[in-house]
Symmetry: C2
Subunit: 425 residues, 2 copies
């Protein structure tokens, strides 16, 4: 891709009214644009990153045996009345009456819809287990949106649901999801802390949260600086009634971003919605459910929080929008430099790299700043001074290490560095 | 994929309250499920088809120089007030006030949002042209939903927008989109009729509609049975004031499904929303816009309308959810049959085919009916009688032609048939 033919509207200044670094960098590097508070557009570069993360999630979900479908945003309130969540989630639910008088809402989550769907098609234990997931836009009427895409009114989630005949089946699917989540976050370059958590409005018996300790976030977990262990903040502790201790030292509060939450729901929804099946023993039983969410848009913010320096973002390899950026410097005046840039572009594209060529007639300073800002992992800089010596510069944005290589050794050098970066290719 | 591990809830009976064949087959073959009138879930098989069509659209949009982004569903009404379309589209717009008192709507289309976005980032003629597109869920408060996913309250559209400095630029992008649309529909196996059309609520000077003449639809076009030419129904003609004639004969009304509509918008939106740029001559001018829509979910219905027989769907190759279906008959009792089925599955998957293996312990009748219903282009049937002779049956669902081949020649035979089908692989 040529920069001049793409749409990457970078900003020099930090936008007003932003507190989180990830929020600032998302806006400055032209990844997202705010339409109104809590509502964001994904610009082409941001969408590529989103799609890469979705791709990772899809691969791991499919590998865990879950099948993808796509549920509607519009949902009839009568379904929510069956579980009483029209009341318990009233605070965040966007509701309206349509022109034919139907009471509708925009899905803040999809337990009721999926339970209704599976109930329609599954009658026998022979059809179980069923594990389904989707990657969908969710809506919440948040009055206090925060940290850009971290707490927004419209956001993208992966939500999976398992239906089993017994607790053993649920446990098996829960464990598969638990493992899949670990793989997903690892591939996104994130180290997560997993804690047993409160099931809240979802209900059910057991749940685990996947969190990333960061400078921002809406959760607080406890951390022991001596042994580096994490644990949940129990309700009474957070009220300050006791000072919790690990056996190595006193626990400190640590802010964290919640990225995933998995729940053993049991029969809360299947009983309320009559999602029953005929078991081998001839008895009608409610299906045993689990649900498994990942805040997909939120993952982007967490990655930026954990992977940036004062100059910009440093994308982990698997989520990076491009593999390599080529920077011809003062190149538009110099036929030799542009020719080499296009030669590298053609060669590397053929090899299978996704390449961005900054072909704009901008100064070296503007190009360097933008390249550091958008954070493509590998960069080839072609400048006059080095080229006289027959050399070009390769920068690893993840380590900020710079290497001068012979202009004919670029491909070999990139492939060497790439190996260390666990390249997609 | 093994059928037993997938989720394809086929129905034997035609669901009540359905008039269109495509609607009936969508439901019967387990592609979609109705949540409430005008609101559908895409089940795994249906989602695969949707994604294949989206993939075709993406390839052709990218090739035409358009860049993908992702705009929000939630939109502030104040934007719509700038163009007055809060009034002209009031009939179909879903509106609500959120908890902080903001007047919002769910996007029935995105001209206002994209114009606002581009206006924020483009100041100079040097940054033009800009062509952006998205594949997004749209919402319309339809009181008369019809034909299943053809006229729905929630549906998926591809919408592209071009911004140019002059009419020549607009014309160039309009022609690129016109050509891309022809390629897209052709790859979807559809023959479209293109007619110059009324610009309606979109406004602008020139527009073209891409329609598929079918048994159902909401548009009527004129057709000359003698020369097979199509033309638009002019307003005064449709009121019956004259009896329109082609020079070869009298024109007849023909029902059609509108799949695409492209518009030369001109400056309607850019003037109303102050989307201006500084031209080379130092003058501030409004950007010249075009917009280009495809009803993605509607394409699925049109394909089914044009590609089915009394037994079910016959998917054109590029949109088919799988390339090959393997049918072991009475196979679960017979180790030899199942072994061969799994061998074919492994071999063909390795070759690059997407394969569905119907491993259910169902009767031959159920398997044959379901296979005809879901309409995978190629089918291998492994049955006892033929296997005694060392043979299996290959069926081309597009022609319904059946060939007996030696069990060792399956791969070669499939590759031969595939060539005629313009296989993806």
């Amino acid at each position: 891709m040529f920069w001049s033919k793409y749409f990457i509207p970078t900003l020099k200044e930090t936008p007003a009214g932003t507190e989180a670094i990830s929020h600032q960098l998302l806006l400055r590097s032209g990844l997202v644009h705010m339409l109104t508070s809590g509502v964001y557009s994904y610009l082409p570069l941001g969408l590529k990153i989103l799609r890469n993360i979705e791709g990772i999630i899809r691969e791991e979900m499919n590998a865990a045996g879950a099948r993808e479908l796509f549920l509607p945003c519009l949902q009839p309130i009568e379904l929510w009345k069956q579980t009483g969540r029209d009341q318990t989630l009233a605070e965040v639910m966007i509701r309206f009456k349509d022109k034919r008088g139907r009471e509708m809402c925009l899905g803040p989550t999809h337990e009721e819809v999926i339970t209704d769907l599976v109930k329609n098609f599954v009658q026998s234990y022979r059809q179980l287990p069923v594990v389904l997931y989707q990657i969908q836009t969710k809506f919440r009427d948040e009055t206090r949106t925060r940290f850009g895409i971290v707490r927004a009114c419209e956001f993208i989630m992966k939500d999976a649901y398992s239906f089993d005949r017994d607790a053993t089946g649920l446990k098996k699917n829960y464990d598969l999801m638990y493992d899949a989540y670990q793989k997903i976050f690892k591939r996104c370059g994130l180290e997560t802390v997993i804690i047993e958590a409160d099931s809240g409005a979802m209900g059910g018996d057991l749940s685990h949260e996947f969190l990333v300790p960061a400078a921002i976030g809406e959760d607080t977990i406890l951390h022991c600086p001596s042994c580096n262990a994490y644990s949940a903040v129990a309700a009474e502790r957070s009220e300050g009634k006791s000072c919790p201790q690990c056996r190595h030292g006193i626990l400190k509060g640590q802010i964290a971003i919640e990225l995933g939450h998995i729940f053993q729901l049991g029969t809360k929804y299947s009983q309320a919605q009559q999602a029953v099946f005929l078991d081998e023993d001839g008895k009608q039983k409610p299906m045993i459910m689990g649900c498994y969410g990942i805040g997909v848009s939120r993952v982007i913010a967490a990655i930026i929080e954990k992977n940036h320096d004062e100059k910009g973002i440093r994308w982990p390899r698997e989520v990076a929008p491009f593999d390599v950026e080529i920077l011809p410097i003062a190149g538009n005046d110099s036929a030799e430099i542009m020719e080499l840039a296009h030669k590298y572009y053609a060669d590397l594209t053929t090899t299978g790299y996704e390449v961005l060529l900054d072909d704009r007639p901008e100064s070296a300073g503007v190009k360097f700043n933008d390249a550091d800002l958008i954070g493509i992992p590998l960069r080839i800089t072609i400048g006059k001074r080095n080229l006289v010596e027959g050399k070009v510069e390769i920068k690893n944005r993840l380590t900020n290490e710079v290497t001068l290589v012979s202009k004919n050794d670029v491909s070999a050098k990139l492939s060497e560095i790439s190996k260390g970066l666990c390249l997609k290719n």
